[in-house]
Structure formats: C-alpha cells, structure tokens
Symmetry: C2
C-alpha cells in the first residue's frame, strides 16, 4: 500500500464523474479504513451507482453538486477536514463559463477560475488541479489511493499473449511511446508487426470500430497474424487525471475487431469493473496483459 | 533536370498501374526527348488513359501485359534496349502465386520470384525491385525522371497557409516524422496544435472521412483553429516506390472535412493531375503547400 501520508488519517474526497470507477475507488479506500467524502457531479455521476454507497454513513458522506458549485465544494471539503481529493469517472460535458458561476464561493474565486479555464499550454484538468491546490486541497492519483485498480505486470486472466501477439504488442507499443512525446495517440492496434490504426480524437471505441470494418473488407488481418490493442499514457502525463481505461466494452469491441488481446501500460492504465472485464475476456477468448514500455533511447 | 545518366539515351520503361500518373510520367519524359516503353498492367492501368499515348508511335511503345508475365516483360525491355524502368500508378490487387506463374520466362525465374514474394523484412515492392535489378534493369524514382510531378517548396496555388495553419502543419508534421521511423502513419490531420487523426490502414481518404464525421458531431475544430492535412514519407522509404499522393479527390475530401489546406513533404509527395488539383483547390479555397521536415533530433 502506498497510502502512508498523514493526510490518510483525514477523509479522502472523491469528485465523481460517470461510470463505476468512483464507486470502485470508494470501495478500495473504505477497505483501508479511511473515510470518504463522495461528491457526485449531477448530470455526470450515476445515482444508481453512488446512492447505495451513501447508505454506509459511518464510512461515506455523499453529496451531489452541480457543475460550478466550486464554492460549496470547497466549503464541504473544509468542513469534513478532507485535505486530499481524487478526480474519478468520466466527464461528458466540458463546463462553460455560464455553468461555472454557480455560487458565492465560486464568484469570489472567479478571476482565478477564468484564468484556469482560458489557460496556457497545460490541459484544463491540470489547471483545475492547480486551483484546488491553491485552496489547500491536494489532488492525488489512483496509484496513491487505489493501486489495485491499475493493471499490473503480465496477464490478468487465464489467457496470455503468444509470441505472435507479443510481436504485435511491441509494434503498437513503439507507436504509442513515440506519439506519447507529442501529446497524442494513447492507443494503437497492430496485426503482426504492422500497426494498422492509431487513436486520434475518435477515441478507442471509434478506432476499434474502424479496425472491425477494415478487417471485414479484408484490408487487414491475415490468418497467421495476431491483432492486439495497446493502450498507454502520454510521456509526462499527469498521473492524477484522465488515465486510459480498459473495461468490459473494450474487451467486446476488441473481440469484434478480431483482436487476440489487449495490453495496457503497467501501473498507468485503469481496469474498470474488473470482474465484468475478466468475465468478458474469458467469454470472448481475449487476453488482457500489462506491459512496461521500453524507455526512450533504449 | 536530374536525368544525366547514360541510360537516358535508352528508352525508359514505365510499368503502369491505375490512374493518370503513368501518362503524366510518360508526357514528362517524352518532353525531354526520351523514348518510352509503356507497359500497362491489365486490370490495373486504364486503357482510356494509356491507349492515346500509344498512338505517338515515334516516342511511345505501348504494350499490355497480365500480372505474372514477368518473362515477357523482361524480354520486351531487353528487346527495346530499356535498361531503366519506373513503377507508376496504383495497384489494387496484390498478386498471388497463381497469377505469377504466367509464362516460361516467369517459370524459369520462379525460385527467385517466390523468394521475393515470401521475402524478409523489406516491403514486397523493394524485393520486386531487387528482382529487376538482378536482370540488369535499374528501377528509378519519380525524382530522377519527372521531378516536376513532385510538390516543391512553398504554396502551389494562390492560397497560402496563415500563421494558424502553419502551427497545425508543424503539429501534424511532428507526428508524421515521429511515426515515419516506425514504418507507419504517412499522414495526419491537426486542428491548431492538436493532432486529431493519424493515418493507418484505412488510408488518407478514410482518415479524412473520419475527420469530417468528428467535425460534424462537434468533437473537433473550434472556429478559431485551422485544420490541415499533412502527408510525408517514412524515414528511409525507398523513393522509387509508393510515394504519397495529393490529387483532386484529396482536395475535395479535405474541404469536406473542414480543413484549410494540405501540406506535402517537399520533393517526396506526388501531385497527381496537377491542373485539376489546383482547380479544385481554387474552387474550395483550400491551400496546398510543400514543407521540409525538421531533421530528427533538431
């Protein structure tokens, strides 16, 4: 376990977007004996997933906030004594200025918030993290509070990549590594030594759909080649935000695209809904494995 | 002009696939006073394009061959005294073993041909080139016999990239350059500094269709960002085969994807059907420009 700071004695705030990940983080943290302040962002987080956790009143305080109630959020964290927070789950809407002007506490901080949103070269989330830290709240990453949710080294289920698949993993991982330095392309698909698809703004699902179509029309995928999806992170990516994920739907789409398996960068890629993901992997005969990237220049 | 070898006194053989490029190469070469042996591959080259050239009997000898008539092809080149050849035009079908066993001359060379097709790490075309060279026929590139068909430095038509577009060219060119070392991704699309699409097995047209869809659903392309398509070559690519092309349909698809322009690597990208390409660029308001890649490590 890596949770060794004094802050661990105080509750962890989980600022929750969509999907099961916020609840999974909460469960992991509660299991270590630490309290959780769970803040569901309305319109993003799923009440059907978070509300049951809100019933465990001795370990969890659940609150629902609108986008932009930043003043109220900070007041809540201060009142609960939560000096550490984590951002977890998906965000479908990018907040605009109007939604941000939410309450008096937000209004007070408006110049700073606008500066963060208009921002420089950093990503919006990195600047949002800076805002929190100016208020005395440290944003932590998944690796610090729930490392078991990240993919580790080697195979996750019963299936493992054969030598053909390992060749494809190496080819796609080389592309993901080269592109990571350019802040693009967190995923790629290779058949054999040939990289056939690289992720852009369409996202992993869009890329896998494309691979499925290319395969149907016979443009890729000889019988003797193993296809793999490789997911990694950008070089120098802030590990506290927006880690790539592998979930049940990733397995299903990979299978539909005719892939033999999925490789995620060890300690850097989240396996969401692990039980369902592994069940799908077994059902589809798809392997899931962790890999370590070769350091640049090696 | 770069045609300075003694071989220039002998006819140039043009082994012609689909599209207008073989005819364009023939016209350029004839204009220098050199004879041409034009070999149309049946099912690939377009008779409507090549047959009229066959009428210029003092400068052109036109022959149609099937895939796999390699013996007859080499006999023809020998008979015509053509010791230099160029491969031009698109190939839609990958030849298989059955189509290769075409004639006695092919049969004689079969072990060598099979070795080329089963091959090592080189591309099939590189190995085919090796086959020709063993027969005493040198394969030359477009730059050697028709350099005017390649994109040069700077803008091609009346429009030129503004500073926003130059930013996008730099971003996409960085990706194309990084990937070129990995034998993948000869093209990318950027809006502003963000690379949103990278070409894989789907080809440039497929990538531009994807960009058009992403733009329609609002996933990419803010009003203040210029979008560009950048095409380049792989590092160490054999310049005698398979150069990337820009043509009228590239301009139309780029325009449909909401792009401001197209940048091709100077001296490495072919502008096919230049008059029609420029006319489309004017009509659509799309710029076309040549760029030089920044050397790796610079």
């Amino acid at each position: 376990m890596t949770t060794t700071s004094n802050a661990a004695a105080t509750p962890l705030a989980i600022i929750a977007g969509g999907g099961v990940l916020p609840a999974e983080v909460a469960s992991e943290v509660i299991a270590t004996g630490r309290r959780v302040v769970l803040i569901g962002i309305r319109g993003e987080a799923d009440p059907a997933i978070l509300d049951p956790l809100g019933q465990i009143t001795d370990s969890v305080r659940l609150e629902w906030l609108e986008w932009g109630q930043i003043g109220r959020l900070l007041a809540l964290l201060s009142h609960e004594g939560a000096s550490e927070a984590i951002l977890a789950g998906s965000i479908s809407r990018r907040p605009d200025f109007r939604s941000i002007v939410g309450d008096f506490g937000t209004l007070k901080r408006l110049p700073r918030i606008i500066a963060a949103m208009v921002g420089g070269d950093d990503s919006l989330l990195t600047r949002v993290i800076g805002l929190f830290e100016k208020e005395g709240v440290t944003i932590v990453g998944l690796g610090a509070v729930a490392p078991r949710l990240l993919i580790g080294d080697g195979p996750l289920g019963s299936r493992r990549p054969d030598s053909h698949a390992q060749q494809a993993i190496a080819a796609a991982a080389a592309v993901v590594t080269a592109l990571g330095q350019l802040d693009v392309g967190q995923a790629a698909v290779a058949f054999g030594r040939r990289v056939v698809a690289i992720e852009g703004a369409e996202g992993t699902d869009g890329m896998l759909e494309r691979v499925a179509v290319l395969r149907q029309v016979g443009r890729i995928g000889r019988a003797d080649e193993a296809g793999v999806l490789v997911k990694g992170i950008k070089s120098g990516q802030d590990l506290r935000v927006d880690l790539p994920t592998i979930g049940p739907h990733t397995v299903i789409r990979a299978h539909q695209a005719g892939l033999a398996g999925i490789a995620g960068e060890s300690g850097r890629v989240v396996v969401v809904d692990r039980a369902a993901t592994l069940a799908e992997a077994e059902r589809c005969g798809v392997f899931i494995t962790g890999f370590r990237r070769v350091p640049a220049g090696a």
